[in-house]
Structure formats: structure tokens, C-alpha cells
Amino acid sequence: MDINSIKSQFPIFSNKINGKQLVYLDNSNSSQKPIAVLNALDYFYKNEFSNIGRSIHSLAVNATNKFEQTRTNVKNFINAKSKEEIIFTKNATESINLVATTFGQQNIKKGDEILITELEHHSNYVPWHYLRQTKGAIIKFAPINDDGDIIIEKLKELITSRTKIIAVTHLSNVTGTIVPIKEIVDMARKKNIPVLVDGCQSAPHIKIDVQDLDCDFYAISCHKVYGPTGVGILYAKKKWLEKLPPYIGGGGMISEVKKENITYAPIPEKYEAGTMPTAEVVAFNESIKFMQSVGIENIIKHEKELTNYALEKLKKINSVNIIGNPKKRAGVISFTIKGVHPHDISTIVDEDGVAIRAGHHCCQILHERLNLSATARASIGIYNTKEDIDILCKAIENCRKVFELK
């Protein structure tokens, strides 16, 4: 696979950052966009723009078709059973909020338990916290070990007759841990507990098959999958979407509106109130095509090689400490340098054109568990090369120079 020809599809890499070639290693935060996606946005707005699902003129019909094409391709991309199980949202955060709110409204009573893990991003904790506040739910955290793996036996012990839902990430945005979702779903199935999977980090990097995982809900942010901002996906099993109450109310999600009563549209429209990010959804189709053109197997292979290369190289630098050592991992590498705070690392490597993230990465629970206030994080995408890793390592050496470390 020729990574340089893949990289050349991303216009941002022809720009200089601080006079240097851009080394973008902040992919867990958000990914860059290939030209096909940008062209699709531009083309749609210039030639085909219309709102969808309402008017019957030609533009509207075409726009609606294109919008629905993306839905079909998302369905294929994650192997959902039917396209009605794909809901477009604003982002994964909204997808999880949608489930927490509607599921909570219908199924959570005082003293009921929600089981999450210490790995979770704030977006898979805060929405459940609302139910703790409004419904008196109890949130339990399945613990992790120092390697950053969830201790599955402990998770099992935390499942009780009051556990109403399990919400867990597929891939940690700090330690890179790939979570054994099937194992967790198996446990949950035996007790008839639904499972929500936060697929924010996994979607661009590993193969997703929601039927094989057999999870009830799966949340994705399209901007991390080489797509536009403002679009997220909620996959939910049909039975849930039919059973749960609607989320946001307004136009497009209704069937009949009377002064006394309102009936709702069938799924998926029931959950898509108001004007949607039409152009962005249409353009996201190109992101899926991009992923498919590279091939998920090739993506996994390339990123695995690069992750191993980066880990080996980083470990050789004195004073670099890699956070976690999970059994199965992806290309998210958090680290600290003795004597240099992560913010200082980020500012210093930025001078060399290297974009990484520093801070708690919206995982304060995890950082507290690992006894860290902040970490630096390099996260790999399909366009990264060994040369990028070499530049990162050189930039890290420069941190030691600036801070006059021996």
C-alpha cells in the first residue's frame, strides 16, 4: 500500500505549519479530510442543494436520495441489519445522549444501576450522570488494571439484578485499549441487559460489525472517520428505536399533528427532527468510500505496523513513559516525559510542525485512576508514516534540550 498516494489525497498536508511539514498525530481528536469529501461538500452546495424529505421538486428529490444513499452505505459499513437502524445525529456525544435520555426516561428508576468503566470518555459518563441526578440512578465503574485493560471478572461481579444498561467504549482514546465487546455483550445477554458501545475511536481504525458484536447501540462521530464535522451516527437495534420515546421534537419527526395529539414518524425519521446537516451527511458517503478504497484490512495492517514502530522508538528515549500496555491495542499512544509537563511538550513539538494533544483527553476518571494529572498523546491515522514518527521522536528530544534535561 502506498501511503504517500493516500496522503496526497489530503490537501491539508500541502500546507506548512510553523514553516514545517505538518505531522498530524491528533487523530483521536479529529481526522483530516480527503479531497473527495471536500469536493462533495462543495459540489452539493453549488449544484444540488436542497432540504430533504419535505418538498417534491427535483432538487429535493435528488438531495433526499443522496442523503439516503449515505444511510445505506453506513448500514453496509458497520453491517447493520437494516438502514432504519441508522440515525444521523450531531456527533457520538449526541448519539449517547439520545440513548441515555430516551432509555432513561422509559427504563430507569431510583436505585437502578448503570454500568460503565474507568476507561470512558466524558461523553460516555456525563449523559448517564444526568440520570443519576434526575432519576436517582447509581453509576458503577468497572475497574481497569495498570495496563489499561478492563478487569472483566470485576465487571461481571458488578452486574446485578438492578443493572439496566452497560455502556462501554470499544477503543480507549488514552491507552489505545481495544475492549473485548463480544465478551461483555455475552455476559449482558445472559441477564437481558442492553449494551451501548462508544465507537468513536474504533470506527476509523478497526472492522465494525454490529451484528457480530450483537450490541444494542453503537455511537460514531463522522469527523473522526475522515468525514465532515456536525454529523454523528447512532446505530440501534430496530426494537429499541421502535420502543423508545422520541428525543428532539420538531419538524420531520412527526406523522400527524393535532391540537389534542401528535403521532410520530416511523424510524429513522422519528429521531431526526429539524433540518439535518444535509451536505455533511451527503459528503460523509465519500469518507466511507475512501475507507473502503483503502480497505479496512490494509488500514489495520498499516496502523499496527506504525504503532509498533512508534512504541519501540518512544521506549528507547530515556525519560519517556508510555501510559498503559493493553493486551490488544490500536494507534493511540499516551505518554509523559519526566521533567516536562505535557503542555510544554505539546508547545515545543508544535514548533516542529507536530500536532499532538496534551491534557486529560476528556478522561478525568481514567487519569485519576492512573494517578496522572495530564498526559501527551500521539494518535495515528491512515496517512501517517514512519517518517512522521521519526519527526515526533526528534521533536521530543528537543523538549529535553529546551528543558536542559540530561
Binding site: 509537563h341 491534557g359 486529560h360 529546551v402
Partner: protein, 156 residues
């Protein structure tokens, strides 16, 4: 942008071994500050005498070189100053890191000004300004006897 402008020797020194760390003896005011974006925390301990002069000042907390150096230098410069003088120095500092890169104060000598000027480099690094201002906001909160925690996202 020049890294050496940001990470001057004086900042590295204070960042590595900050002065006045811990709880100062007999403190009668204290305040906490927090930068929710990065997780930096600071706790300021302040001792004011009956005439509201700063008798003691110290801090606890974790953070980057900029935030530690800023807190450390602040505790050195502000000790012995009156309430009004502290307020003037604070606003001079905020002005320097946000607008002018210059320090204009009637209550600091040339040496003290030079020390404080070492932090002026953050003006060129907008994402880092809050690192430098966190301890100053928190001192302000302590000296005013405010109860709620300082949050840089609310105040800055």
C-alpha cells in the same frame, strides 16, 4: 515564534524548583483555581496583616513550566506589598500577557519587572496565556476573600 522567548532560563528555573510551595504559616485567606481544559490546579495560601499587607504567600498545585513559574514568581514579587499595590501589579501583569508585552507598574523595581517580563512570551502563544494567569486569578480571589473556585474558562 521562538521557543526560547517562551522558555527563558528564569522560567525553566522557577518551573523546575518553584519558590514558596506549600502552605505558608498562619495563612488567613486561601483560594483554589482550576483550568478545566487542561486540568491544571492551584491552591493559593495568603496571610494578610491587619493593614491588609501581604505577610505570607504560597501555593500548592501542579502544572506546566509556565504555570509553575508564574505562580512562583508571583509569590516572590507580591510578598510585602499592600492590598492596593497587589491589585496594581495584578492588572499590570494581565495587561502584559494579553496586550502589551510590557510591564507598567509603580510598585515594582527594575529587577522585579525583568523577572515578570520573562513571562511576556506567552502573548505569542494564545493557548498558553491561561497557564500564566491561573495563579494570578486565584490570588485575586484569595485577596478578595471569594469562596468559589476560580475557573479559567469562566474568568479569562
Amino acid at each position: 515564534m521562538d521557543l526560547k522567548q517562551l522558555y527563558q532560563d528564569i522560567i525553566l528555573e522557577h518551573g523546575k524548583s518553584p519558590k514558596n510551595r506549600g502552605k505558608c504559616e498562619g495563612y488567613n485567606y486561601n483560594a483554589k483555581g482550576f483550568n478545566p481544559l487542561c486540568g491544571d490546579k492551584v491552591h493559593i495560601y495568603l496571610k494578610l496583616d491587619s493593614k491588609k499587607k501581604v505577610e505570607g504567600l504560597s501555593f500548592e498545585g501542579e502544572g506546566c513550566a509556565i504555570s509553575l513559574a508564574s505562580a512562583s514568581i508571583m509569590t516572590e514579587l507580591v510578598k510585602g506589598k499592600s492590598f492596593e499595590e497587589v491589585k496594581e501589579i495584578m492588572s499590570a501583569f494581565m495587561n502584559m500577557v494579553r496586550k502589551t508585552s510590557e510591564i507598567q507598574s509603580n510598585y515594582l523595581d527594575e529587577d522585579e519587572k525583568t523577572k515578570l517580563m520573562s513571562l511576556s512570551g506567552v502573548k505569542e502563544f494564545p493557548m498558553r496565556v491561561k497557564c500564566a494567569t491561573l495563579s494570578w486569578h486565584t490570588l485575586n480571589s484569595a485577596i478578595e476573600g471569594k469562596k468559589e473556585e476560580v475557573n479559567t474558562e469562566v474568568i479569562d
